[in-house]
């Protein structure tokens, strides 16, 4: 099981008396504003959770794992996530034996 936008909207519906459409819209807007900021080159910092940073990666040699053929991996801009101390501490304590991929 995984947390999804539907569950997040459900929670807003239950706790705020927002109607379902408004709750869905707010959840959608939350992720869209983050995507928009990152697309605009802006780093995003969510206190209590973590930071989304942007990195420029240079072209590097790659290989098609099936054929062994060499194909360069083109230069690209990527998003990296760095969990904050608070989130790391909360997750670290998770003693579950069920290993996730």
């Amino acid at each position: 099981m995984a947390l999804t936008k539907a569950e997040m909207a459900e929670r807003l519906f239950e706790e705020f008396g927002l109607n379902k459409r408004e709750a869905k819209e707010l959840v959608e807007m939350f992720f869209e504003e983050i995507r928009g900021a990152l697309e605009g080159g802006r780093q995003v910092k969510l206190s209590g959770f973590g930071n989304f940073n942007l990195r420029e990666k240079n072209e590097r040699p790659g290989r098609n794992p099936k054929t062994g053929e060499e194909i360069p991996i083109t230069a690209r801009r990527v998003v990296t996530f760095h969990p904050g101390q608070k989130l790391k501490a909360r997750v670290e304590a998770h003693a579950g034996t069920q290993q996730q991929q």
Binding site: L3, M8, L12, F16, Q43, S47
Partner: protein
């Protein structure tokens, strides 16, 4: 963009909701996400990405000051994999990258 800027932007776009309501809603969403990971549950947001836990096995660490060996237990760390839409939009952008001023760094936690 910080959490307070995000709240500000969304509350301007959601005129029918008060600033306080938007603030509480966003804090609720972030807390729900943190809670999900803290309880070992993944997060899957289509077009944005997924958060999961990666296991770090126990290892022997070292106290950098004394050189003494310290056994470290295994632990879980949060991991984010950007989704297709986010990857594509970020990669096609030519906007210069702006980091947030260091003065704000303390807000992270």
């Amino acid at each position: 963009m910080t959490k307070s800027e995000l709240i500000e932007i969304i509350s301007q776009k959601q005129q029918h909701l008060s600033y306080k309501d938007v603030e509480f809603a966003i804090k609720t969403m972030i807390e729900q996400m943190a809670q999900s990971l803290a309880s070992g549950e993944r997060i899957e947001i289509r077009g944005f990405g997924s958060f999961s836990l990666h296991y770090r096995p126990p290892r022997v660490g070292r106290n950098p000051k004394t050189g003494e060996s310290v056994p470290l237990t295994g632990k879980y760390v949060p991991h984010f994999k950007p989704g297709k839409e986010l990857r594509e939009r970020v990669n096609s952008s030519t906007a210069p990258i702006q980091q947030i001023d260091d003065r704000d760094s303390d807000l992270t936690d």
